[in-house]
Symmetry: C2
Subunit: 437 residues, 2 copies
């Protein structure tokens, strides 16, 4: 049986590993990149605390000794369920069973202007682009004469008060407080404002009231200007305008205010639900098809406890992958399959050094501060793939902690080579990112 897994994120990679070296299944894992990305730490790549490679793991390395898992770096154009195949930039890929684990991308809610000018951070490469732009803006500020323009270049607006927005604005504030004034003695950092804008009435809406209040307090302490009940109306690359009419002058808007499922074309027999997710049954099956599954962020499984689908977080993707792997193998062996049930182990967010919040569900427990920060770090270290990456992340953290210095303030921007007729995989990648090629 040939199982094709579309996407090498938390869900897709886990599924492939669970099916690795199992008899009776041939697995093909398809991803746009040649590495697995550890999403929870993108914000540290963007703020120069970690190297992109520290949180990326070559997919081929995971399956070097595999007898039945093969890899392809490809962009999926569409699914053709009748022909049981994927149409991709590297040709057609046929399957017996297809698992859609394509995750979610940034949701600009149809605002094209925002999409053009704001940065999203749903891939390692985008995190690097943010880092480069932040550094370039400061370099420009050192040679700019107009005080208003200098402020615009220094100001940063983070939009979206979920964990990503909280972590990103906290890390930016620490850069502003500890690192940047040393690097740029010619700039007056009292003129730099880091905004965190949230549409609802509170930050970390999915977490406990205590966590929300505590995280807001931490951000205030670090000097972040937190504005709740603030919805962005437009951004032209220079001026951000909120729906209440207030404006912010900034050259950098980091958009973490929403995600939407990455649904490949061709899935016509089902309609996507809220957040552009694919409705699946308790076995992660897309019911109108008997051979297409979806797991993780792109899937929406409605249960009494989760009437709008499970939260779009790594543990759900991983647990769904585990359950689907054992069901697929059970089916092959003629054994009974099991419905998915989610064990919620809690949630957490970190704001800065010694500052984090943790919510645990059973027993219901909240804690914050230094202990929460230690727990956050330990857990993330455990989850990172690869001993070497774990060591390098740890060493970078120790270094940053001791020296108050995110040291990777480097602009490695590639220039276009005249001979760059790009290989098809890259053209397609651009295509997926919304650019016409």
């Amino acid at each position: 049986m040939k199982i094709v897994i579309a996407g090498g994120g938390f869900g897709g990679l886990r599924l492939a590993r669970k099916l690795n070296n199992k008899r009776g299944v041939e697995v093909l894992l398809v991803d746009r990149f040649n590495y697995h990305q550890f999403q929870p730490l993108f914000y540290q790549v963007a703020t120069a605390g970690l190297d992109a490679s520290n949180i990326s793991f070559p997919l081929r390395k995971v399956f070097q000794k595999s007898t039945n898992v093969r890899l392809r770096m490809a962009d999926i154009y569409r699914v053709e369920p009748e022909q049981k195949k994927l149409v991709t930039d590297i040709g057609d890929i046929s399957y017996d069973k297809l698992v859609i684990a394509t995750g979610a991308g940034t949701n600009f809610f149809g605002n094209k202007e925002l999409e053009t000018h704001a940065f999203s951070m749903k891939s390692t490469v985008e995190a690097l682009q943010i880092r480069h732009r932040l550094m370039e803006n400061l370099e420009q500020a050192t040679v700019e004469k107009d005080p208003q323009e200098i402020e615009r270049l220094m100001n940063i607006a983070v939009v979206g008060g979920g964990p990503t927005g909280v972590e990103l604005s906290g890390a930016l504030a620490e850069m502003k407080n500890y690192v940047l004034p040393k690097d740029y003695p010619e700039l007056d950092f009292s003129k730099m404002t880091i905004y965190l804008l949230e549409g609802s009435g509170k930050l970390l809406g999915a977490m406990s009231e205590k966590s929300s209040v505590q995280a807001t307090g931490y951000l205030n302490r670090l000097g972040v200007t937190v504005r709740t009940n603030t919805q962005v109306a437009s951004y032209d690359g220079k001026t951000l305008t909120n729906k209440d009419g207030s404006q912010i002058q900034t050259a950098t808007v980091l958009w973490a205010a929403g995600i939407k499922g990455h649904v490949p074309e061709g899935i016509t027999k089902v309609e996507t639900v809220r957040g552009n997710r694919l409705p699946v049954n308790q076995f992660n099956l897309l019911e109108p098809y008997q051979d297409i599954y979806a797991i993780g962020d792109v899937a929406s499984m409605v249960t009494t406890e989760y009437p709008h689908g499970h939260p779009q977080v790594a543990p759900v993707a991983i647990q769904q992958a585990d359950n689907l792997a054992s069901n697929l193998l059970a089916e092959l062996a003629g054994k009974p399959t099991h419905a998915f049930s989610y064990r919620d182990k809690g949630s957490m967010a970190t704001v800065g050094r010694n500052l984090a919040v943790v919510d645990m569900p059973k027993p219901k427990l909240h804690f914050g501060g230094f202990l929460a920060w230690l727990v956050w770090m330990a857990l993330h270290l455990m989850l990172i793939l690869g001993v070497k990456n774990r060591l390098f992340v740890f060493l970078n953290w120790v270094y940053n902690y001791v020296t108050y210095d995110q040291s990777l303030r480097l602009i490695f921007r590639e220039f276009h080579r005249p001979s760059d007729e790009q290989p098809p995989v890259l053209q397609a990648r651009k295509f997926m990112e919304g650019e016409k090629v």
Copy 2:
């Protein structure tokens, strides 16, 4: 006195550090990038053994506590000696004394076709581009049907048998021998050939006969196809043709066959000499001007021992910077200045694990193998700027040595964002690289 240093390489950075916090001098260090690049290890970035950040050090970090050294990221369009200023993409920069430390770039000897299709490796970013292309070619090979095309995608031709070419081809051979077959079980690596093409009769022409013979033996042992007396005539992106008519089918040509001085425009009173270098006197002064100096690769100081100028290596640049710094300070203090004299401490090249060659001048001594390899590593570790970079390079080396695995096989290629009106500094950077903007 305002001293402007053009270039933050080995020479320029050393000079700025020697003038750091000295009374009576204001220093402005100008570079295209915001970091110092450790050129000797570019080839390890290209072959996925080191991270780009491991060999790059933020220039602003070096001078965080400086009272008199300031930095600008800029491209120099030209010098206007009469007005005593530099014209750059970020505006005019005036000087009392100018030190040209712009180094050297790749020399394609006027062959535009080669320049378009071959890769050069004179910056960290170019090393990354090589890494990305190598990985992309292999991914393409896995889905290619035509056996000839597969071979073309796998083959690599390194041109130039100096230290860079030797080190690069050795590292590529080790990837081919140890890493790639594990990553790509679908490819037959007996079809992959790594060529090292050298125009003269022997490799490492600047080193001893013993070193040349030994390095050639090492490369043969690793499986590199070494061809001396072979000059490249043309390369169209697919087929490399040598002057003797022989051809090599390859999608990747890495050009390490020559360099030429990066001379800014406007220096009209002197004519450049061999290798596009600026002739300087024994005090590194460009004599027709009384306020312009040149040091390092871009300078050519003729002495009886070095009738064609000193070798274009880091120690010359560093020693010239030291001498110039003390002369500039002596002049200010009304003390006598000293002519430059080069202390040659020897040269070395590494081929692969446990394989290197070392030549020492006084006492005249050659050694190779494991000991030379250890010496090579120890010396390069010492020379790298920053404790953290040193540690990370060391750990990467230990990891690569123990696991036989250059683990950074990651393609982090940025995609163009629709809103990327690039900041002027970047447009200018492209301009410097020969692209019209």
